[in-house]
Amino acid sequence: MHTKYPILTTLATLALATALFSACNKSSGPAGANTTSTTTPTRQFVIGMSQCNLGEPWRVQMNADIAAAAAKHPELKVIFKDAQNDTLQQRAQVEEFASAKVDLLIISPKEAQPLTEPVAHAAAAGIPVIVLDRRLLGTNYTCFIGADNKKIGRAAGEWIVKMLQGKGNVVELMGLQTSTPGQDRHSGFLDGIAGSDLQVIFRADMQWLEPNARQEMESALARFDKIDCVFAHNDDGAHGAYLATKAAGREKQIKFVGIDALPQEGVAYVRQGILDATFQYPTGGAEAIDTALKILHGERVPKEIVLGTRLFDKDNVAQGGVALK
């Protein structure tokens, strides 16, 4: 490298970095350092929240849910950290929160093995820990809150059996099959359709990605003249499949079912008549704050809270869906 203006370059870089840094600090996303600090006579509680990554809208939603729930309780102050999908960075965040002696730690861990011990250290130092969505090994935490992908997959399978009256041709667009949610949604779905005359005629791994789902669906449409239903492991996949089918002019003959039901994605698609149903994969953000308040006020909480799912279809979407057991 032979730049002619080393000083100029350095200065420009510094200026840019400073500007960006201050901009990022001002508002780091919808769930930035949301500090609800009003002067109240009651004790202030500081909650540290370590999110494994904010690359997925679902996790952005989780942080937003936590921030919204916490905003209703002025005595709570939540500090958000994003580990950017880096296990060691998340470990460092847990250690930072522990040494800052936060009143409670919420962690949505990237992986179980490497984060179990750091969390156990924090718990041993007397900090209550709520584990969200993904599990850790052992029981060195206060409470686990998460949903059951297998149950959701089964609920989707059972709904499809009911809709198609027990028989028909189904295309399954699977989430990444090397990930646990993808595997669980798949095996749950198989449980759900077991015993019916439903045939899975085409099955492809679309890796949670909409463009891939669209391509796979085009292949399925080219091969099969009679498809009754598409079950995609996420709403993006179902949306991509719908667009492919609409381009082929066959969207009236096929039902589309997805999972996740984020307000601005799956639920919106059901409202717009794109999807026939979506099953919520809850973030647990609001439940985490409820549980945190109980812990902070000295109440007992269960070791494990399994969240239920909600079904959104065209009949109930206006009422906010129905809860499934």
Binding site: P30, G55, P57, Q177, Q215, A222, R223, A268
Partner: protein, 337 residues
């Protein structure tokens, strides 16, 4: 090569196959033959399959057009996937949320892409940072900007009101136009856009002085400088063009998904590079062309489709794609004389 062929006809055929274009065509033919054999109950012979193959390959192909310009000048552009995402997000914001007309959205998107490419080009050509590093920085930067502009969420037709509820708007007409089929439903508009990009790149490279500059710079940068080629300007412009092609790809992506996804385009840069290289354009710069890239785009596009209609499991797909890319590149390898 030995010179003991009996007929001149045969000689001509061998020479044709030995040329880079002939070899790239051979790779494409091979994939097509595989498709004809494993035709998934005749699905491969339907017109719709070919329309969809070309539609799916178009976004990659548009990126590959820009990538070809940059690679011929001896550089590389790793930022195209991120620039695509940034433009997709901005495009969705302007077209869906702000309800701007397509006549305004497209130029604005091209400017955004051109500016990003311009920064990469300036850092590479003027400040002398290696293209790999300069565009790697832009790849991270543009991804960050895309996430910042969208707040990490997809920019879709569901718009959040200040009170947290949602209102829903129509998909813009201009999106529907881009994601449309013409000629009795047998050709996607995005494929036409891809064809227009290929034509533009071809004209720039073979009919314009700038194209010859790029070949010269890729061949020998120092010699070009000494013979009066405006190296810095020509190189910077290559990155600007790559950014603008990425912007076109971003518009197509947003229109096809009906939303702007800040995570879109992950890994697309590698796919675009693979398409350029399979075509036979040299990564060392100075040799190759847009026609070769077109063959590379079709080869990978059809390979993808053949694997997809046969529902080959993911693991097998990755292995097969890897093997075929290596074989295709090996057949492209020229014997240095």
């Amino acid at each position: 090569m030995t010179e003991n062929f009996q007929s001149g006809k045969k000689n001509a055929l061998v020479l044709a196959i030995a040329s880079p274009a002939g070899r790239a065509l051979l790779a494409l033919l091979l994939v097509l033959i595989i498709g004809a054999i494993f035709n998934a109950d005749g699905a491969f012979f339907k017109i719709g399959t070919h329309r969809d193959t070309l539609r799916q390959a178009s976004v990659y192909g548009i990126l590959a057009c820009g990538m070809t310009l940059v690679i011929i000048s001896g550089g590389i552009d790793l930022a195209v996937g991120s620039m695509l995402a940034l433009v997709a997000v901005c495009c969705a914001q302007m077209a869906i949320h702000w309800n701007w007309s397509g006549w305004l959205v497209v130029p604005a998107c091209l400017i955004i892409g051109g500016c990003c490419g311009g920064v990469s080009g300036f850092v590479t050509a003027r400040l002398g940072v290696q293209p790999f590093i300069a565009t790697l920085s832009m790849m991270v930067l543009a991804r960050g900007l895309a996430k910042y502009a969208s707040g990490g969420m997809k920019v879709s037709t569901a718009i959040m009101n200040p009170d947290g509820t949602f209102r829903y708007v129509e998909v813009p007409r201009f999106f529907r136009l881009v994601d449309h089929h013409i000629l009795g439903g047998n050709l996607s508009v995005v494929t036409l856009i891809f064809a227009a990009c290929v034509a533009t790149a071809w004209i720039l490279m073979s009919k314009h002085r700038w194209g010859r500059y790029l070949y010269a710079i890729g061949g020998n940068e120092e010699a070009s400088r000494l013979s009066g080629v405006p190296v810095v300007a020509a190189k910077t412009l290559a990155y600007v063009a790559s950014g603008m092609f990425a912007a076109v790809a971003g518009i197509c992506q947003a229109a096809q998904e009906q939303q702007g996804d800040p995570e879109a385009g992950m890994g697309y840069e590698l796919m675009a590079i693979a398409m350029v290289v399979i075509g036979g354009t040299s990564l060392m710069g100075g040799r190759g062309g847009i026609g070769l890239t077109l063959l590379g785009v079709l080869t990978i596009g059809y390979l993808d489709k053949v694997l997809s209609i046969n529902a080959v499991p993911e693991a097998g797909r990755l292995v097969l794609t890897g093997i075929i890319i290596v074989v295709a590149v090996l057949t492209q390898r020229r014997k240095r004389t």
